[in-house]
Symmetry: C2
Subunit: 233 residues, 2 copies
DNA sequence: GCATGGCAAGAGCGGTGCTCTCTTTTTTGT
DNA sequence: ACAAAAAAGAGAGCACCGCTCTTGCCATGC
């Protein structure tokens, strides 16, 4: 039936969604630190204590918003990748497109970006439930490298001996079909990408980099080369 | 005399220092978000309103802590550089030493790291007074590249046409004696360094990278190569 | 048809940043 | 030397916050 649990459960779902929606608005407008349950409740015309029927604490509400943010970012990155992949672009152009999608999303929603990649909310540690959503962009980047195949001579920096065991462990975990040096380079590039995006979103480039789009494109192209991607594929 | 302004000014300096010290302790212990003026005042045996005679607002206290954090980081990086430079190390080893100092400092004082390189405190924008302290690590990295000289053929990625004007502007601002492609690569490496450090400090490498020290060393060695440094150079 | 369980409401606790007033103490100017 | 002025501490108070507990209502499910 269309009312599988009766009108009551239906209302619960709607109220839950309304809370998340309003909380998302306030998050986008003022940031996570200023997100208050009382304000959300006030805006929704309910009393603050009623909100605790839906989210046991402020942190649980934040968790819901975090998962939404990861999903929104992952979706945007995947969409951007699909567009250029369908146009027949090579691996470097696909890599750059994904990076630019991440940057664009972060600049559009700086507070959501801060929520997932900024300082962790104190006393709060992301529950396991955020992991799949959080992994989407990483998987996308791995996929691009996998699709490109790895011609000999295009390999990234050779691994120093001290890193080889860890690189092999990472490769076994993340992409058993890729050589360990590629996986190590990928993980580093992944972190470095968020360094570039974070510096821009958090204002660290203020009065340092002015024309940021070409700068970013150039930097992530360097990242692509670092993991072994070349124009030809 | 030893009391150039009388006992009053002397006391003011001491109380100010005590406030900053206690605030720093609480910051290190619990993070910026949980830093409360009232708690600091309580710990110091004064009433909260008295604290406003020394810091007009919580944000001003945070600003003082931010400057201290930048200085502490800069000092540690400079000390690390001095050690390896005095030992006659080449540019790559000096670069890596500075990066490792940044990482070590961040891991030692995650909350201070979050304060200066994490999500900006909402409604707060760092005043101009933080700029010199914030620039120290960057200047150090520029200095290493400058000292290395730039042999031909070791240059970083050639600049695309769209980035050339901006790269020349950055070079004029930051290091007029270095070629624009080197400066662009330097700024990118600077941001990427903090991506690597931030991911580790903020727990993004949890269950992804386990043996982090060699991984970091390898990644920042790659960064050094990216700006044109080579072992011999 | 009625007991039950989900839900909104309200009061209240302990905490926050910040302001204002009042008093005391020190510095400064004549 | 003494009064005026500046600086500092204390306390009350405002408007918030997260969160808990109790109360009473009302729709739902037996």
């Amino acid at each position: 039936m269309s009312t599988p649990q009766g009108a009551r459960a239906r209302a619960r779902i709607e109220v839950t969604a309304a809370i998340k929606e309003e909380a998302g608005r306030r998050l986008a407008a003022e940031g996570a630190a200023k997100l208050s349950l009382r304000a959300v409740a006030r805006e929704l015309g309910m009393v603050s204590s009623a909100l605790y029927r839906y989210f046991p604490s402020r942190d649980d509400l934040l968790t819901a918003l975090i998962i939404d943010a990861y999903d929104s970012l992952g979706e945007r990155a995947e969409a951007a990748h699909t567009v250029v992949a369908d146009a027949g672009a090579g691996p470097v152009r696909r890599w750059v497109a994904v990076c630019e999608a991440v940057r664009g999303w972060a600049l559009d929603r700086p507070h959501e970006y801060a929520l997932i990649y900024g300082s962790p909310v104190p006393g709060y540690s992301a529950p396991q439930s955020t992991v799949p959503a959080a992994a989407r962009v990483g998987l996308l980047l791995i996929g691009i490298v996998r699709d490109a195949g790895q011609g000999p001579g295009l390999a990234p920096l050779p691994l120093p001996a001290e890193l080889r065991p860890e690189a092999e462990r990472m490769a076994a975990d993340l992409a058993p079909d890729l050589p360990p040096e590629t996986v190590a380079a990928l993980v580093a590039a992944w972190a470095q990408l968020y360094g570039l995006v974070g510096f821009e979103v958090f204002g660290q480039f203020h009065r340092v980099v002015e024309d940021r789009e070409p700068f970013f494109r150039h930097a992530v192209t360097g990242l692509a080369h670092g993991v072994g991607l070349r124009e030809g594929g």
